[in-house]
């Protein structure tokens, strides 16, 4: 009998420990490569700022994250959405994180998904809306949000609203169209069956179909998180006094402070991945009935 290949071939089946070794090859090479380049650079320019060493980044990051107290304040966006404004005194990084993640990203995501879900669901269920709304939602989904940004800043000013609306605009049409498609994919037989069981128009829409597309909503959000982050950082880069995106662009202007920028970029990537991973877990945990792949 031939032995199973460890490295190459379609049927390669390396043991667990070897899988981990394979997985770490790329990061180890990347880190070692950067270390080598950075130390050569610093040997030539002892006061250079472009390629900081890992120790310099760590020291800078510790300064940015240390804090001495918490200042909590409740703000109201549009007068009715409560948003906690958490300022960790002395800690730029955690203050930025709180503002970016909890105020801007979370509010934008929540509103965009609620509106997208209700809009997409109703367009799919009620034929009139397919003429009234669907074509225009499709057209609007092609408008690049970056192009709308100046208008937003003119109309809404540089407060929180403009930045939240930017995230909403980036996501809401995509979510609407996706919810429309997912609702249409539900087998016609099932809808007819619900009718024979006594469902009214509203019962069919909100009691039968809505619960069936919630997992699809989470999935759409998860796969489009990149857009949300993109809009968030865009908005913060252009008009803000606080936030992860604001800080990176500020570091560029003063310095440039590469030892500050790089840890921020790494952390933003980690946050984005953590949210992606968390949404995936919630999907599997809350909706065990969902069949993956083939439809029921």
């Amino acid at each position: 009998m031939r032995k199973r290949a460890l490295l190459l071939g379609i049927h390669a089946e390396p043991p667990r420990w070897l899988q981990i070794v394979y997985m770490s090859i790329v990061p180890v090479i990347a880190i070692a490569g950067y270390y080598w380049i950075s130390s050569n650079y610093l040997a030539d320019n002892p006061h250079g700022k472009l390629l900081p060493s890992f120790m310099m980044m760590l020291r800078r990051f510790l300064v940015l994250t240390s804090f001495s107290g918490i200042d909590f304040e409740l703000n109201w966006v549009w007068g009715f959405i409560p948003v906690p404004d958490i300022t960790l005194i002395g800690s730029l990084f955690w203050g930025d994180t709180a503002i970016s993640l909890f105020l801007r990203l979370l509010t934008g995501l929540t509103i965009a998904s609620a509106v997208g879900l209700i809009l997409g669901l109703n367009i799919a269920m009620f034929r009139t809306l397919q003429f009234l709304v669907l074509p225009w939602v499709t057209v609007l989904s092609f408008v690049p949000v970056v192009a709308v940004m100046p208008i937003l800043l003119i109309v809404l000013g540089i407060g929180e609203e403009a930045k939240i609306v930017l995230i909403i605009l980036g996501l809401v049409f995509i979510i609407t169209l996706s919810m429309y498609e997912k609702t249409r994919e539900i087998a016609q037989e099932l809808l007819v069956n619900a009718r024979t069981l006594g469902a009214t128009d509203l019962g069919l829409t909100y009691r039968v179909v809505l619960p069936m597309v919630i997992p699809d909503l989470l999935q759409t959000m998860r796969l489009n998180m990149g857009i949300a982050w993109y809009c968030l950082l865009m908005g913060e880069a252009i008009a803000a006094q606080q936030g992860l995106g604001y800080r990176i662009f500020l570091f560029r202007r003063v310095g440039p402070d590469m030892a500050g920028i790089l840890p921020y970029v790494i952390c933003i990537t980690l946050f984005a991945f953590a949210i992606y991973y968390l949404l995936g877990c919630i999907e599997r945990r809350l909706f065990p009935w969902k069949t993956d792949g083939e439809k029921q």
Binding site: A187, Q188, E189, L190, V192, N193, A194, R195, T196, L197, G198, A199, T200, G203, R207, V208, P211, M212, F287, P288, W289, K290, T291, Q296
Partner: protein, 332 residues
């Protein structure tokens, strides 16, 4: 007017209660389900396609009618017309004398698949008719009683230990039993079934047939059962209706593409399968052989052969013990 204008003896003609002019003027109120001269044309890419034509059918309350026919002959289309999710091109359908409108709880359906709500457990699925019909406060008030009733139904279907499973976690037979129980709670005037056991393995299929017969005998529900399996049709139904793809208009001797109800075999000589006992009769096998000829080979319609009993063992017979073993108390 009989289409047995030549070849068949008068006796044979008697076996077939054919659609006649006299029937056409029957009052829709006389039968539970009354389908009159229905025609359904679909606009296809290669021109209009007549799927159903001249379909006349009447079903009385308490009957178990099986509709047989080859794949693509329009069986599901006819069910969609009865449900009301599609309208006939011409003709009329009545339930209890009332013209059929949009789908509503007077007509229930069990499909081969897609019948159950994937996001609800077996128990929740069976409770759906109540949840959808009752207002929230009414539901809260009667919740306990209704859940008790639903659990009793699940017990009858031997599903009680699976009540918290989602459809994807149930076997094909369990899923179909859940769908049948959902419809029994829904309590439609006529229960439509579109090849409900078509995707099951032969063993579960047989058990499901016995299960369904049992329920029919206990509840007296009117069942309109579509299948392409002649044996299943004869085993289950009190009356077998054959829908053929090609229809020969004997009155004008024209060959017409489309379909019509070929023969409407009444309980009695051919549709022996009225009580469980008579289903085990050797005549049953003969019935199948006979139907094979008339149902699937319209040309042979006039040449009803002698029943050939040598084919008896080609059909699996269910023993009376098997039937009785599944007998159970059923709530009326």
């Amino acid at each position: 007017m009989s289409i047995f204008h030549n070849g068949g003896s008068a006796e044979e003609a008697q076996h077939f209660d054919m659609v006649t002019k006299k029937d056409m003027v029957l009052n829709p109120k006389d039968h539970l389900l009354h389908i009159e001269n229905v025609r359904k044309v679909y606009a296809g890419r290669d021109g209009a396609k007549t799927v159903l034509d001249n379909v006349d059918l009447r079903v009385s309350a308490g009957e178990f009618v099986a509709l047989v026919g080859p794949s693509g002959c329009g069986k599901s289309t006819l069910l969609r017309l009865i449900l009301g999710s599609e309208r006939p091109t011409s003709g009329a359908l009545y339930l209890d004398g009332e013209p059929i409108g949009f789908p509503d709880p007077t007509r229930g359906i069990v499909y081969q698949k897609y019948g159950l709500f994937p996001n609800r457990t077996a128990l929740e699925n069976v409770l759906m008719p109540h949840k959808l019909k009752l207002s929230f406060s009414e539901w809260q008030k009667r919740k306990k009683e209704l859940i008790g009733q639903a659990e009793h139904y699940l017990e009858i279907a031997q599903l009680i230990e699976h009540k918290d499973k989602y459809p994807k976690e149930l076997s094909g037979g369990q899923q179909q039993r859940t769908a049948v129980m959902q419809q029994l709670i829904n309590d439609p005037k006529v229960l439509l079934m579109d090849e409900p056991f078509g995707a099951l393995d032969p063993g579960s299929r047989e058990r499901m047939q016995v299960f369904l017969l049992n329920i029919w005998e206990k509840t007296g529900k009117t069942i309109f059962f579509v299948t392409h399996d002649l044996e299943e049709a004869v085993f289950l139904a009190t009356r077998v209706v054959v829908l053929s793809q090609y229809y020969t208009d004997d009155r004008t001797d024209l060959k017409v593409r489309g379909s019509c109800i070929k023969c409407d075999i009444k309980t009695g000589t051919v549709g022996q399968a009225q009580s469980t006992k008579s289903k085990l009769d050797p005549k049953f096998t003969a019935t199948i052989e006979h139907l094979r000829d008339v149902g699937f080979k319209p040309d042979h319609l006039h040449h009803v052969r002698e029943f050939d009993l040598t084919h008896a063992d080609s059909f699996h017979t269910v023993t009376p013990e098997e039937v009785n073993g599944l007998a159970c108390d059923f709530p009326k």
